[in-house]
């Protein structure tokens, strides 16, 4: 692709991103803002593809353009209008809208200063040229990592501690969500058109999740993208009237939630017992161990995202419609 054409594409992409971000933030209506944010995510996925970051593009396509929009829309729908959108706010909030102009100006100036500082730091970094020490270290040791996709190698081998702690962060978030109360009310059983959509979309999403998990070893993909795709399948089920969105009941759900952290710890501790460093895989087993951890992590990430969409503890079978499950 020649340079001029690429530059035109870049300018159009950047302009789209800026105007969508500005529009999403400027509008006062909540659901309008969420739709603009979803469109922003779509364009962002194309931008990641353009910048040769297909792993990130996959995650953005699944989460930014799909799941987080669904999550925000569910929240907008549920809240009585005054709580989340600006239409008719309680008195104390209305007072806060008319914050005095000085404060607004100060904060705006502060934000401009932050942007200028960031721009200066980046310009300095670009002036010094690319620092490839880490990238070189990755490409030199990639062969011994058990996978050939460098991003997966970093996440599950070289920086496995970070990913373990990230899964712990996700677990904390989901425990917080569960502790805060019951799930939002469910949805009525789907009509015929929606039902036919569910019938093919859910199996295709589940299959795609499995494909992404498997392909992540040697091409863009992996536990995060697969988990998000699996969660999307559950979100569709929930929208079609399944109250628990296909989540397993009670104890099993808790096991699934903790599966990512748990499998990481089991593998790490077993390696310690065998006389290796914590999470220091023997090269011969690395590929298999990574796939094992990633499978557990996928389930945990999917469960986290689904519970995030539910917004609280699943409430099976309240007697109305939807499927009946004992907890």
């Amino acid at each position: 692709m020649n340079t001029t054409a690429l530059l035109v594409l870049d300018v159009l992409l950047v302009f789209s991103l800026l105007s969508l971000a500005a529009a999403a933030l400027a509008t006062r209506d909540a659901s309008r803002s969420v739709i603009l944010f979803m469109a922003f995510g779509l364009v962002l996925a194309v931008a990641w593809a353009r910048l040769l970051a297909p792993d990130v593009a996959l995650a953005e396509a699944a989460i930014g353009a799909g799941l987080s929009g669904a999550l925000l829309l569910a929240a907008v729908r549920e809240q009585p209008r005054r709580a989340l959108s600006g239409d008719a706010k309680p008195v104390h909030e209305r007072e806060r809208t008319s914050i005095d102009v000085t404060l607004q100006l100060t904060v705006t100036l502060l934000c401009v200063a932050v942007a200028a500082l960031l721009a200066w730091a980046l310009a300095e970094a670009f002036d010094r040229g690319p620092q490839d020490t880490l990238a070189q270290a990755v490409s030199e040791t990639l062969a011994a990592s058990g996978v050939s996709n460098p991003v997966t190698a970093i996440l599950l081998n070289f920086r496995a501690y970070d990913t373990l702690l990230e899964l712990a962060v996700l677990l904390t978030a989901v425990l917080g969500i569960l502790a805060l109360g019951p799930a939002r009310p469910g949805y009525q059983a789907a009509g015929p058109v929606f039902d036919s959509l569910v019938r093919w979309l859910v199996p295709v999403l589940i299959l795609t999740a499995g494909y992404l998990l498997w392909v992540g070893a040697h091409a863009p993909g992996g536990a995060f993208q697969a988990g998000a795709t699996l969660a999307a399948a559950a979100v569709v089920l929930r929208l079609a009237g399944h109250r628990t969105a296909g989540l397993p009941p009670g104890r099993t759900l808790h096991v699934v939630m903790a599966a990512g952290v748990g499998m990481f710890l089991v593998v790490g501790l077993s390696l310690l017992v065998l006389g290796r460093p914590f999470l220091g895989y023997p090269p011969a087993w690395a590929g298999g161990l990574i796939l094992l951890i990633e499978s557990a992590a996928m389930l945990a990430i999917a469960a986290t995202l689904v519970l995030a969409f539910l917004g609280g503890r699943p409430q099976p079978a309240a007697g109305l419609s939807g499927e009946k499950r004992q907890c």
């Binding site: 692709m1 105007s19 739709i35 779509l42 040769l52 999403l205 992404l212 993208q225």
Partner: protein, 87 residues
């Protein structure tokens, strides 16, 4: 051939951009969602062209996920009626 693909990619970007105008303008939520669908379809096409132009086969998978998740987003938007509650 490569020139043709490049020109087509720019054409699709233009199409996506026109869709953005409708997303920003509205007027109804349905209009915005319809325009988001167009952006999705144009994005899928653009990703497929980029996969050839940038020699990144993986972008085909990105296009697939984008296509599937656009359907999820539309389902979430139009939503179903809540069982209870006051929507």
């Amino acid at each position: 051939m490569s020139e043709l693909l490049t020109v087509s990619a720019l054409g699709l970007m233009l199409s996506l951009f026109l869709g953005l105008l409708r997303v920003v303008r509205g007027p109804s939520t349905g209009d915005r969602m319809l325009a988001t669908q167009l952006i999705g379809t144009a994005g899928v096409g653009l990703l497929l062209l980029l996969s050839l132009l940038l020699k990144q086969t993986a972008l085909i998978d990105v296009a697939l996920i984008l296509a599937l998740l656009a359907a999820v987003a539309a389902a979430a938007f139009t939503g179903q009626q809540r069982e209870t509650g006051d929507d």
